[in-house]
Amino acid sequence: MVSKMMRESQFQEHNRFFLNMGPQHPSTHGVLLVVLEMDGEYVLDPQPVLGFIHRMHEKMGESRPCQGFMPNTARMDYVCALPYNHGYVSLIEKKAGIEVPKRAEYIRVITSELNRVASHLLWLGAYLLDLGAFTPILYGFDDREHILDILEDITGSRLTYCYYRFGGVTQDIDDKFVESTRAFIKRLRKRFDIYERLVTKNIIFIKRAENIGIISRDMAIRYGITGPNLRGSGIAYDIRKNEPYSVYPEFDFEVPVGENGDCLDRYMVRVREMEQSLRIIEQALDTLPDGPVRSKVPKNIKLAPGDCNFAVEAARGELSYYLVGDGTSVPYRLKIRVPSYSNLSCLPELGEGILLPDLVSIMGSMDLVIPEIDR
């Protein structure tokens, strides 16, 4: 592919050269190769090359019974794994007509939102690390450690959760969880001030993120960009509000929206989303119903012939599962639509004629996680 590009471009001009922002690079979040055709300092044509971490998750989904796919869901996007869990169990519950108790739905929402906050904290630190500030990532990890401890107490894992099951969740939450979550929410609201002063208001950061990488509304819709990237461009589309699932309609929260679609807007959208997630968690904890956390489900679920689709709002955008059943318990086809794939696809158009540090800033602000692209 690289040699084809070399033949096509005007390689005679001696100022132009190809730079491999290689698979091993501190700034691409995962194993992503971006082949840059450069003219001096300016990037002419960034071409992402994927596939370095393809682990055949969809194939694994099609070669074992549907309940055996659960561990895979967490490993696709390990930074924010619970929405992936949520999407898959909701898909099978919709397909097989399984009822989920109310308490289980509330617990699912609480843990998913906690995971979303953890993912945004990691994104903030990694974005600033790309820009050259070495401390915010450690402050972010300090806060994230509390979330991971809280979630470890009920799910047993810190990163790759396998907590949801068809018909509910594995384990009930206890008072210790509720207490520590409330304490964490209080602590994080005070810590937002630190991020505000150290990062958001910092003139150096603003200069590196304002008016950089502007995604217009039209471009966003054309490429199918979803999630905070879309909301940064001014379109207020959130699956939790527009195609609600689980118990999200019962909570009152806002959908933060940006204006211009530059890196600073996407940053502000994510920071404000963290606050909205905290609001959802508080409301859920206040109105948590009693009851069982798991309904009775047959051990072997037979998937009726026909297809089924379910979309959730992951931390990076719209994540949807598509399943075609054929009467057995092994799906005929399982297709996962990940948000980062579409988010990355606008990079060639966005990155024409920009400086290299700006490209790094754009890729950081789009919050890409390459393992989920390659599945």
Binding site: F17, M21, P26, S27, E41, L128, L129, D130, L131, G132, A133, F134, T135, L138, Y139, D142, L198, N202, I204, F205, K207, R208, L355, L356, P357, D358, V360
Partner: protein
């Protein structure tokens, strides 16, 4: 013995001074390296080096031993003379400015009439060292880094000179000893706060420290002009950088913070060095803190900042100083 007694005492003193200063440079690099890692650690709420020696004091010594023991890789197609010359050219001129700095009333290796000018010209040789290293590496990324470093250094030389000129206008002399002497009653930072700020910012930019470290610690483009160096060559660059930082801080102390002036000590003429070092390390602490706080400035914004903000303000400062001195 007879040979030594025939030499003039001045040259023996100079030899001693040079030996002490060179050994001090290595000590300083070790101390500053340790300080940097510990401060970085505590800013990030972690302890920093703790294993080697009590609280990690010997960490830098062990690192130095490791660097010396590494293989000196010389890539195939480089210009061998230039490649080897780069680190030497970076390290040698940093010793010279320390010869003219008055550490205390009686502790100064050589008091030149044009001390300040001498310091500025020696620090400019650093630019040439970067170009030689970048060109000699036969690597387009190193050349990139070197060219960026040249543009940055040239852009920030001017505010340094202009802010130093403000002090010279007030004291009428380039000799560092007399500048310190003129601050007996009041330190110049009170009279020239703007020049101090401009000098510190430009000094940080001259030594390629964050947030102006685009030529060096690029997370975008390998490691800049010292990509191809390993082992001792690399460590010479870093010795040069740390000593440059020390020089910038000590010139700032001499020009603005009153040099070795301070509350009186016994043997004050020699022990003034204690106050001098306190002030210098306070400035170095500040320079290290800003590395770990701010993100990197983009290259064109860096040059913009110098030409559009620092130069006009330092020119205005000189104008006001000249008018006030004349009155």
């Amino acid at each position: 013995m007879e040979l030594i007694s025939t030499l003039p005492p001045e040259s023996i003193r100079m030899v001693f001074a040079v030996i002490i200063i060179i050994s001090f440079i290595f000590l300083n690099a070790i101390m500053m390296g340790y300080l940097e890692r510990k401060i970085a650690g505590h800013v990030q709420r972690r302890p920093g080096p703790m294993e080697v020696g009590s609280h990690g004091i010997l960490q830098l010594v062990v690192d130095g031993v490791k660097l010396v023991g590494k293989e000196l890789l010389i890539p195939v197609n480089v210009d061998r003379t230039l490649f080897r010359l780069g680190p030497i050219l970076s390290f040698t001129p940093v010793i010279l400015p320390l010869l003219v700095i008055p550490f205390s009333e009686k502790l100064q290796a050589r008091d030149l009439n044009l001390g300040l000018l001498f310091i500025v010209s020696m620090t400019s040789i650093n630019v040439m060292a970067m170009v030689v290293a970048g060109w000699g590496s036969n690597n387009k990324y190193s050349m990139f880094g070197a060219m960026r470093a040249v543009a940055q250094s040239i852009a920030y030389e001017i505010p340094i000179l202009l802010s130093m000129l403000a002090v010279v206008l007030m004291t009428n002399t380039f000799s560092l000893k007399e500048i310190v002497g003129a601050q007996q009653n009041i330190w110049f930072i009170v009279l020239q706060p703007l020049a101090f700020i401009i000098y510190i910012i430009s000094g940080v930019a001259e030594t390629n420290r964050a947030p102006f470290d685009l030529p060096e610690a690029e997370s975008e483009l390998t490691a800049g002009f010292h990509t191809e160096y390993s082992g001792m060559g690399f460590s010479l660059f870093f010795l040069g950088e740390y000593t440059n930082m020390f020089t910038v801080a000590s010139v700032a102390t001499v020009l603005f913070l009153g040099g070795w002036h301070g509350p009186p000590l016994p043997y004050g003429q020699y022990l003034g060095i204690v106050w001098f070092f306190l002030k210098v390390y306070f400035l170095l602490f500040f320079m290290i803190m800003i590395r770990w706080t701010y993100p990197r400035v983009r290259f064109d914004q860096l040059l913009n900042f110098s030409w559009k903000y620092l130069v006009p303000f330092s020119l205005a400062n000189i104008l006001i100083t000249a008018v006030v001195v004349k009155l």
